[in-house]
Amino acid sequence: MGIKTNSLLKSLWVFHFGSATCNNCDIEVLDALTPRYDLERFGIQLAGSIRHADVMLVCGFINKKVVPKFKEIYTQMPAPKLVVAIGGCACSGGMFTGSYNFFETVDKIVPVAAYIPGCPPKPEAIIAGVVKLVTALKGSK
């Protein structure tokens, strides 16, 4: 596996995107970045701007009003890029499927690399999902 892919997987910078979220998944993502669960030992840092990020964490479902902005932010991310869907609403729509403002699940708009289900997923589940993603990418590339 090349040195660039190896370095990418050891130093993932995440950007958090929450569109129509109840904010519980956001709180759990925040917990995963705090000292108790400490994602920085894997090299994962929170990036302030989308242009610095490698991974976009999507919490919450995508409603009709935010779809153009979501696509624009996805194109603003520099390649190589990954999207991770966190929580039941991002994976499959959750309880909002079929409601009046629901557009589509995330993976019909952008390609998703990993799904972390839960409502909300515990920080341990988020870490397990990240580790699985990194292992899978190491094996395939």
């Binding site: 040195i3 050891k10 701007s49 242009r51 610095h52």
Partner: protein
């Protein structure tokens, strides 16, 4: 001539300072992690960051100025390598020219100016906001820094070469005297602001929810900005050691640098961030007064 190229690129220029800068930034992150009761990143983490950034796509904003956007990081990078080369050659080989102290002073402002230029070339309102904050901060800390740096010149009897200042401290270091100690404290705090670390990192972190001055940068230019910041973490304390603590004669005197680095990191971890106007008032009020007192004490011979 080829010796100078070797000095600029390999030792003590680009390669040496880059490796030392990555080590210093790793020490900073590890100590921060330990202070926060967690494990930090592994040793090679800064290297992984830079290699990863070199593999990312470079995106240039279409409404900004492409040339300035791409060249600004390189100019800041080149000037900090030059400063490092001049400093280490002055310490190790006692070479230099008359007035190289002033040249180093000018070159040390280049990274901040290039950061501002790059932010203005980004065509992004948040970047302009960060750049205007950076301008205010630079206006704030340059004044007491220059005043504090006059003290070694006075005490060494008017030398304005780096090697002259080092050799004037061969008896006793300037830090041990009254004026030198006060000037050292002032320049330590100004250095904290110059490095862009808490409590004075308002320009680069106030809008950290969106990235501040480097919001539109991606790929290698961002890597160069980060590497410049890490190299400044190596170069600035060495500059202070040359001015006030007698240079680095033997190998054990690298401990002086380690002490300064630990003080910087501890200051960073124990303080909240101040607003730009509070920082400006701090630098133009107490700090300038203290540095003026130091200059007067130096002129009086203490």
């Amino acid at each position: 001539m080829s010796k100078l190229i070797f000095n600029y690129i390999i030792f003590p220029g680009f390669l040496f300072t880059a490796v030392a800068g990555m080590l210093a930034s790793w020490i900073d992150r590890k100590v921060t992690a330990r202070v926060q009761w967690r494990v930090g990143p592994p040793l090679l983490q800064p290297l992984y960051d830079i290699i990863k950034l070199s593999g990312k796509e470079i995106i240039v904003p279409s409404e900004g100025n492409c040339f300035v956007f791409l060249v600004a990081p390189l100019v800041g990078f080149a000037s900090i390598i030059l400063v490092s080369t001049m400093l280490w050659l002055g310490i190790l080989e006692k070479s230099g020219f008359s007035g190289d102290f002033i040249v180093v002073f000018y070159l040390l402002t280049m990274p901040s100016i290039m950061l501002m230029l790059g932010a203005f070339a980004s065509a992004n309102p948040l970047a302009s906001l960060g750049a205007s904050r950076e301008m205010k901060l630079v206006m704030g800390y340059e004044l007491p820094f220059v005043l504090a740096a006059i003290v070694p010149v006075i005490k060494s009897g008017g030398h304005i070469t780096l090697s002259g200042i080092i050799s004037a401290q061969s008896g006793h270091v300037f830090l041990a005297s009254c004026s030198g100690f006060v000037a050292f404290i002032v320049s330590m705090l100004c250095m904290q602001a110059k490095l862009g670390l808490v409590p004075f990192d308002a320009p680069e972190a106030e809008t950290e929810i969106m990235g501040g001055v480097v919001i539109e940068y991606s790929g290698i230019p961002l890597g160069i900005f980060k590497l410049t910041k890490w190299m400044m973490m190596v170069t600035l304390p060495v500059f202070l050691i040359v001015l006030f603590w007698g240079g680095m004669g033997s190998f054990w005197e690298i401990l002086k640098y380690v002490v300064l680095l630990v003080v910087i990191v501890l200051l960073r971890n124990t303080n909240p961030r101040v607003r730009v106007d509070q920082a400006l008032r701090f630098f133009w009020g107490p700090m300038t007064a203290l540095s003026l007192i130091a200059v007067i004490l130096a002129l009086a011979g203490k």
